[in-house]
Amino acid sequence: MPVTGPGTGAAGADDAPTSVVIAEDSVLLAEGLKRVLADAGFEVAGLAADAAALLRLTGQIRPRVVLADIRMPPTQTTEGLEAALEIRRRWPGTAVLVMSQHVETQHVVELLAGDPRGVGYVLKERVADIAQFTDAVRRVAAGESVIDPEIIARLVARPRAGSPLESLTDREKEVLALMAEGRSNQAIAQQLWMSPKTVETHVGSIFTKLDLLPDAGDHRRVLAVLAFLRQ
């Protein structure tokens, strides 16, 4: 499915609006999210205040996307994450975007452990940039992986002695970071204002330098790059 640009509506392959279920225990925020998503052309099919309600709604509505806060009642730990994994297991076609006040690689690893397609994990505060936020929802709906840049920036910035990362050019590092965020070559090209061909060249060079398998598809390479960054 083609990647849709920001602000071009949320139509899926069948041209029907992309349905979303929101799991967020703060009513105010849930309402705000609902409004933003509706404005962006999504169909908000349900609101859930806890993980149990989320699973129930998802089973009933079978939305295209589930947007879930990681911390929800009753224990306020990782119910959202566990519910997301459960949804991915039970209804693999449903994309999940997990939001958190803080982002941790441990959560990414758990979330992406199965099939990373249609899975996203972002800082909650990303909702402030509405375009960026709705774009993330759209990307997971389209089967992409979305990893918050905060995590990637942290991982890329980690000091490491004698790592092949040191041999990457600054440009290559930018491309690597976007790959790790789950961006496709086309999206990277758009973001960095370069031709898709140039992106491909950079990606090939990065894979050679890091000694990664070059034929990995977009979703596979997210895992490969993340695994490398976590070393």
């Binding site: 933003v36 006040q101 690689t105 441990q106 505060e125 909702v127 402030a128 000091p159 002695a161």
Partner: protein, 583 residues
Amino acid sequence: MNPRLRAALIAAALVTITFQLVTFYVSGWPGPPPAPLFVVSTTVVLAAYLGTGIIAWQRHPADKIGLLFTLTGYAWFLPHLLSLHYALAFTIANGTAFVYQGCLGHLGLAWPYGKLRGRADRIVVAVNYAWNIANPIVANLFWNPRVTGCSAACPANLLLIDDSPRLYQDAGQIATLLSFPVTAAVIALIVVHWRRSRGYARRAMNALIWVSIPVAGYITILNIADVVDLSRYNVLIYQAGPLLLAAPPVAYLASAMTARRARGAVSSALVSMEPGPHPAKLRDALARALGDPTLQLAARTAGAASFTDTDGATVDLASLPAGRMVTPLDTPGEAVLVHDAELRHEPELIRVAAAAASLALEHARLQAEIQVQLDQVRASRARIVEAGDAERRRLERDLHDGAQQRLVTLSLAIGIARDRAAAAEGADPDLKALLESASKEARAAIAELRELARGIHPAVLTQTGLEGAIQALVERSPVTTQVRAVPAGRFPAQVEATAYFVVSEALANVAKHAQASAAVVTVREQAGRLEVEVSDDGAGGAQAGSGSGLAGLADRVASLGGSLTVHSPPGGGTRLQAVIPCP
């Protein structure tokens, strides 16, 4: 002991000894003075009994043993009045020749405290006295000293009624025959006493057995020599032989010295005892020191009906077996020593032992009390740290559910407003910029609040455990940091938090002070404890002094019963190790 009595006894002893020595040499007897060996042996025996009598009297004024030694000494002296060349002295000396043997029998049966134990004792002692007094008197009735050939030089025998050598000889032989059963009766009773002796008295009775052999043997030989011609052994029997009689005083003095040493042994037994409540060990040490293997240390806990000794046996103080005695201890609880009754003759020793036992028990009690207090303090310290952690978790949760959530909602609202402003026709151009900057501020506030919340309590620790939390720390470390091992499992919240803060503080120190290029974090679970180690290749020289973050960390680790060590030689890097018990 009355000092006057003591002075009198010493004076009398000195006078008697001097008198005996002088009369050996200055007397009316013709011919040379007695053989030097005889003088020495008889004087040694006299001095031994008189001296020991005074010492024993002083040690045990309430007992008759001192008196018995003294009497035996003077009984030994009486026959030596013979040295005086007067009829009366001569007669007294001959008539009392064997009184000392009666005294010796009394001494043996009253050993070691001068008290006869029963009727059999009294009968045998009485017969022995009677026999040894009557025998020479009867013999002297028929003995004319002239038969010895001293003719006119002999003083007169005032007891003589019938100058009949025949009767004298017959009486002598009957006397000799009868003396054996009397001696045997004394020895038999001594053996009975010895066999019955237990505990403390056993030691003294063992000594008596050894003493009885030479004494009884010597007396028997003397009796045999009366009827059998042993004159070629005269030097041995009459000159050296008396020395054997010095055995009882020597044995007595030896045991007195042992008792004195025992007092020292009580204190050294205490000193050698390990600290701690070990009543059984205390009992053993006291039993050894007192020489009473039957010693019992019994205590009654508050409210209990009966006393229990260190072997767990019930001790009924109201109906103790004969020969047992109770000494109460001066302790807050009820505790007693139950020991051989013979020890009452060593009041000083038993007093020292009781004081020592009281001290040891009191010490053990205080130690137990301190242990309880220490446990309470430990528990309260752990509770304080736990409460602090709970408070941190609560704060973090409040921030998360409150301010952070509101700021996110706020920034979303600003975002909507900003987009609307941008889309609106003819909107104030400043408005968009204003909302843009408001949005930025809100996001900056969210980011700051996130870091604040992380510092208060990392949510990832509660959410995923040590592995994810330490991973998060390492990702943020400005120094190349490798995680060598972290257990994936979960641990009690206190243990996880402590391990986390150890790594967090250590990595912060590495970044701030160590001038290191690399650090390694290792967390291992081993034998019920979590071992956390953070090492770097930096400058070293770190100290866990007061005021440093490490001191607080050490307190936190200690609150869980763990330990924190810092190896940081200058120039040799720093290795921080925490061992946290993990039930």
